[in-house]
Subunit: 245 residues, 2 copies
């Protein structure tokens, strides 16, 4: 254990923030750290849109849930998978970019996620807290209209950041043995492990300050994964030039 | 600037390692930190396969490039986007998992990337170094055969880790202004910014120890993105139950 691992292990999603702003210099330092994440073949296939306009924030907060912390947080970032810049690089060299491969979708989606996780960690190291906002995928076309996001770019998630005004408990994770496997994927013992984990989660939810409930991990996941999952996403990403071919 | 941001900003891909192994306790600590990353709706849609078998390592090293460091590194991990565990959670609650939505593919791909970036940072904080191996997507079906990866799981990338036996320079990143935008996506000035960045990269490549070359960022990206991008990926992920519908 060292201070960095302690920081990583202390992560909680923060949705309530003090009003104090995040200094401009701090934002630049965080984004510079984000850019240092690994990137597939050096392509750096992402852009980050900082949303300041209160009217736009209000609309995104509604579209994403509602999730009022999108409107209230001091710093709100939208992370986009971005091949528009690659397209420019091709044009600058009189080449045509190949388009629509599923592989390109994977490259850009992984690239933006790695940069985002560096963002979260850099922010947390500076005493900030935050939460990812997958809810921007509820209506991603509207997000594109609001932020003028062009073809070959798609908004993957948002992130609220600011000084925490809340101290939620850490959520227990799956047993390490269910996640880390050796030499081959095996899941023979996972039902027993997950059964035990369900009880850990149940205790967490029952004891949780403020929003106690009776729930387990598998109940929650089966509820989520039993329903259609944002069925507009395929048509949406295809409309942005990610044909998934 | 603080020690965590310094650590993030000091990232380089490490491909040469000292022979000394990574302690078991350290591996557990790194994976536990990985698990603390944010996860969409708490789904934790990833698994990590540690590959110890030298014969399997040798085959993956070939398939991925060849990339001999896959065989030589002390610790090699394969990061998988995993909905198999969600399917088990559904079965444990007598529900049927919805399948094949593009959204589920995004959820699992982002989840595994966030956990992987925590892995890299935790490892680096302990004095290790490493490199992502996207090359496992050259022949992902063969990777699945070798590691017995079931349906609803797909290997996204590998990661080599170990004590560095190399000290490469940091690669310059895109100008921050090209990546961070405010309130709307704008790229009007990006051609100029990227033109200047091309010269920065050119100097980096010319001066680089060991493997100097004359190249720019846009040349490299246009070369990469001018060619078909792993066209087998769509069929492969569909075969694993990620129908991209």
């Amino acid at each position: 254990m060292n201070p960095v691992i302690e920081l990583l292990q202390s992560h909680r999603s923060i949705r309530k923030f003090k009003p104090e702003p995040v200094a401009e210099e701090m934002i630049r330092s965080i984004v510079a750290a984000a850019q240092c994440a690994s990137t597939s073949n050096f392509v750096q296939a992402y852009s980050i849109i900082r949303v300041k306009d209160p009217a736009v924030r209000k609309q995104i907060a509604e579209l994403a849930g509602p999730q009022p912390w999108v409107e209230a947080c001091p710093l709100f970032l939208v992370f986009c998978a971005d091949l528009n810049r690659s397209e420019l690089a091709c044009r600058m060299n009189d080449r045509e970019m190949v388009q629509g491969y599923t592989e390109q979708f994977i490259i850009a989606t992984v690239d933006v996620a790695l940069a985002a996780q560096n963002t979260m960690i850099a922010a947390e190291s500076l005493g900030l807290g935050g939460v990812y906002i997958g809810g921007i995928r509820n209506n991603p076309q509207k997000i594109c209209d609001l932020l003028r996001i062009p073809d070959h770019v798609y908004p993957v998630f948002g992130m609220c950041l600011g000084y925490p005004n809340d101290d939620p408990q850490r959520k227990p994770r799956l047993p390490l043995e269910a996640v880390l496997k050796t030499d081959r994927y095996t899941d023979g013992e996972d039902a027993a492990r997950i059964g035990a984990y369900d009880q850990v989660c149940r205790e967490y939810y029952i004891k949780r300050d403020g929003s106690a409930r009776d729930d387990t991990w598998t109940q929650q996941i089966s509820e989520m994964m039993g329903k259609a999952q944002r069925p507009h996403m395929k048509g949406f990403v295809q409309g942005k030039g990610f044909d998934l071919k």
